[in-house]
Amino acid sequence: MRAMVYRGPYKVRVEEKAPPVVEHPNDAIVRVTMAAICGSDLHLYHGMMPDTRVGMTFGHEFIGVVEEVGPAVRNLVPGDRVMMPFNIFCGTCWFCARGLYANCHNVNPNATAVGGIYGYSHTCGGYDGGQAEYVRVPFADVGPTVIPEWMDDEDAVLLTDALATGYFGAQLGDIVEGDVVVVFGAGPVGLFAAKSAWLMGAGRVVVVDHLEYRLAKARTFAHAETVNFTECDDIVVHMKKITDHLGADVAIDAVGAEADGNFTQHVTAAKLKLQGGSPVALNWAIDSVRKGGTISVMGAYGPMFSAVKFGDAMNKGLTLRMNQCHVKRQWPRLFEHIRNGYLKPSDIVTHRIPLEHIAEGYHMFSAKLDGCIKPLIVPNAV
């Protein structure tokens, strides 16, 4: 089969690779019909995530059609059109039993601090991902869901991570009616978090980024006020000024490990790999939110330490909430919101790329060229 393959930092290509096989009785093999490149894939692409091996296929956002099922699979049959949460999870460990699917203890031998994720290094279990023609889907009775007939493929693929994560991030903010919510990052997760904050009754939503084309999307798609931090002498002071010096009630970090805005932080983390991630957005969140406020961290960071301003967080009495999203737990409510017309996730898609052009897709997304917000990968597109 044709599959995206990692060749080292900043290098990927498409190779002929042996198709996946059923390795466990509850496995399924899915033929991928659409995948996406996620902002967190760029941390792998840039060589930031420990134990990212040459030869691995990335991709944790994908949908497809069931091709084959293992002997113990009861809930799926070949031909089903399915969407997979980016989490691989068993359904019955201590964590899954309580709804923490992202923290499943039965799927990742390489680490206890993170669950299993498709195509996201051996630190997340060593599973190949969906930027390929076929993919192995473990626990086929637990993770995948048949896509409702009324749902578009592009909406479905965005439900597998970006939309669910943004919506989850707004929930972790514990937003109450009238809250001022600041979202750092106008990428897909930030846009969806901003949009979701309104569903939870926010009184004001401010999105911060440095890419003007993404801020324009935040204004039109997420109905948000926007701030370009490159136009502010000091973004923290600016946030205080626009909130009558109180600070925002809730801040959401939708940037993560490669945050810009501080050259030293970015270079030591993203280029020199001396930190788990560049905590610029997180530090801005800590300093921009009001005392007693809440910070929701949706940005992904590596497992190494990062230079976080923890003293300010303590002295301000902040509540810091974070996790990988338990995707499947969000779906029933998100399906309702899409059906009611409150959310239209595919509105943020900017590029549709054939699998064979994946290297150009990664470079374009990484370098933020051509107004790229969300690129989709279509295996057999021309």
């Binding site: 900043y10 039965n106 206890t112 440095h210 959310l343 897709g361 374009m364 933020k368 051509d370």
Partner: protein
């Protein structure tokens, strides 16, 4: 205002927001939010029909965190460890827990060694690594590389100049070392 007990006024009322933004307040009640509370007993087990899953066959000694009691019943089988990078990875997993910086630093070192091993071995195959096609750098021409950056006040442009150094630097250095070594050998002979 902030220096009194009053909350700063909002620019729009709830009614105005409801009229302007589709779905405003649909999840105002925390009971409608699927992740509230954090821990929720899942009676249906999300479709699972086991207490503990069947075990996937272990086809090679699978590296695992020493913080785990045993090999998890299901695991990924992409890219088994190989070569010098594989030895470093096995050491990182065998000796150090996830709580130790040495664990992660060794894994990062193994990643760099793996890349070099793979680049060098690719030259013995019919498809050697090609940094031009594999970096996708040609999209700079097809995807408006210049106009996407110039005059955009982008904060990332100043460190993007480091990327070609990171990608091409080691190759240039390796070629320079090789050329120097060959010259010295030729002079001696």
């Amino acid at each position: 205002m902030t220096y009194t007990s009053d909350k700063p006024a909002l620019p729009e009322s709830a009614d105005q927001l409801r009229a302007r933004i589709p779905g405003w307040g649909a999840d105002l009640d925390p009971k409608d939010r699927p992740s509230v509370p954090k821990l929720q007993w899942q009676e249906d087990r999300t479709g699972a029909h086991w207490d503990f899953p069947d075990r996937q066959p272990e086809k090679w000694p699978r590296e695992r965190s020493i913080e785990h009691k045993f090999l998890t019943p299901v695991f990924g089988t992409s890219c088994p460890p190989k070569g010098a990078s594989g030895m470093i990875r096995r050491l990182a997993y065998r000796k150090f827990s996830e709580g130790r910086a040495a664990h992660w630093l060794l894994l990062l070192a193994a990643d760099r060694v793996d890349a070099w091993e793979s680049h060098l071995s690719s030259f013995l195959t019919a498809r050697p690594d090609n940094p031009v096609t594999e970096t996708g750098v040609l999209s700079e021409f097809s995807r408006h590389g210049i106009s996407s950056r110039v005059g955009q006040k982008r904060s990332d442009v100043k460190h993007q100049v480091l990327d070609p150094v990171i990608v091409a630097g080691p190759w240039v250095l390796a070629v320079a070392v090789a050329v120097t070594a060959v010259r010295k050998l030729l002079r001696r002979s």
